[in-house]
Amino acid sequence: MNDSVPELLRRFADGDAEAFAGLVDRYQKKVYYLAYQMLGNHLDADEVVQETFVRIYRRRKELSDVTNFTSFLVRVATNYAIDLLRKQKGHSQLDELAGLPGETQIELARQVKTPRELYREKVLMEEIRRALETLPPRQRTTALLHDVEGYSKAEVAQILECPEATVRSNLHIARKKLKAILKKRLSAEE
C-alpha cells in the first residue's frame, strides 16, 4: 500500500482492483472533507465519497489520459456535490443546528483545547458554514477550493472546467458577499 499514486493509477488502469482500493484509502478523506465543506453535513459528504469513487471506477479507462489525478478526482467530486447543492436549493439545513449545544458539550468534553476556545471555534465554523451556504454552488465551490483548500486559480479553473477569468470573477463576487455577511465578525477582529 506504499505505492506512489502514478504507480497505483498504472496498475489500476491495467485492471488491478487492489490498486483501486489503494487510491480509495489515499483520497477518501480529501473527498470527504471537501464535500462536507460544500454541503455542510455528514450524510451528503458520505454520498459524495461513494459516488465519486464509483464514477472513478467506471471511468478507469480514461485514467491513462489523466495528467493530474487529484484535479480529476476533485472535479468528479465537486461536480456531484454541485448537483446535490442544486437539488437541495431551497431546503435549508439550518434545522440541523437545533441540536448544536448538546453536540458542542460532548465535543468539548472530548478535546484538549479549553472549552472556551473550542466553543468560539465551533461558533466561528458555524458562521462560516452559514455564510458559505448563502452562495450559489459555483461561487461556493470556487471560494472553498481557492481560499479553504488552497488551490491556485489555474487549478480551480481546471477542476471546474471553466476559464480562469470565470474563477476570478466568481471568487471576487463570493468574497464580496462573504465580507458583507461576516462583516460583524471581520470588524470585531480589527
Partner: protein, 190 residues
C-alpha cells in the same frame, strides 16, 4: 488612478499575484486611502478566517466502512457498475416482458376458464341438478335454458357468471364458478 481601480486589485494583492511594480502602487495608495485600506484589511481577515474553516471528524471506523462500501459497489460488483447505462434499458425491457407475460397469462386463464364452463366436468353439478330436477323440462320448454357443451345453464345464470367474471377478474374464475354454483343451488331446484 481611482479607488475603483485599486479595489479591483485587492483580491490579487491578498493572493500575492500582483507584479511587484503594481503591488507597490497599490500599497502606496492603501497608505493614503482609509476606505481602500479598510477594504484590504477585511479581505485579509476573510482569507484568514476561511483558511481556518474545518469540518468535524466522522465517527471512528467511518473510513473503514466507507472503503468497504466502495469496494462492494465497485470491485466486488463490476457487472453492475461497468454497464450503468444499460441498467435502465434492461429494467424497461424486463417490465415490458412481464407485462406481455401477464397479458398471455390472463388470456390463457380466460380461455381455460371458458373451457371449464363448457366442459362436462365443470358443469357436473349443474347437469346433476338439472337431471334430478323434475321442473327442468318445463324450463326447457319455456326457452329459459340453453345447451352448452353437454351442460345446461340458465340464461340468467350465464349473465350472472359474466358479470362476476368482470367484477372479480380472471384469477377469481374458479372461486366465482364455485361460489355461483353454491349460490344458484336454490335456483336449480325451481
Amino acid at each position: 488612478m481611482t479607488c475603483w481601480y485599486f479595489r479591483s486589485l485587492v483580491d490579487d494583492l491578498v493572493d500575492h499575484e500582483l507584479p511587484l511594480s503594481l503591488e507597490n502602487a497599490v500599497r502606496e495608495h492603501l497608505a493614503v486611502c482609509s476606505d481602500c485600506r479598510k477594504e484590504y484589511d477585511q479581505s485579509v481577515r476573510l482569507k484568514a478566517v476561511l483558511s481556518e474553516f474545518s469540518v468535524p471528524e466522522p465517527e471512528p471506523g467511518y473510513w473503514q466502512e466507507s472503503a468497504a462500501l466502495i469496494r462492494a459497489l465497485t470491485i466486488e460488483a463490476p457487472a453492475l457498475v461497468s454497464v450503468p447505462a444499460e441498467i435502465g434499458q434492461r429494467s424497461r425491457e424486463r417490465r415490458s416482458f412481464y407485462r406481455s407475460l401477464a397479458a398471455v397469462a390472463a388470456s390463457l386463464t380466460l380461455f381455460f376458464g371458458s373451457l371449464m364452463i363448457d366442459s362436462p366436468w365443470g358443469n357436473t353439478a349443474l347437469e346433476t341438478a338439472a337431471i334430478q330436477s323434475p321442473e327442468y323440462p318445463a324450463a326447457t320448454s319455456t326457452a329459459t335454458a340453453r345447451v352448452m357443451g353437454g351442460g345446461y345453464i340458465l340464461e340468467d345464470e350465464q349473465a350472472l357468471i359474466a358479470r362476476s367474471v368482470l367484477l372479480v377478474g380472471t384469477p377469481g374464475m374458479a372461486f366465482t364458478r364455485t361460489g355461483m354454483l353454491g349460490a344458484m343451488g336454490t335456483d336449480q331446484k325451481h
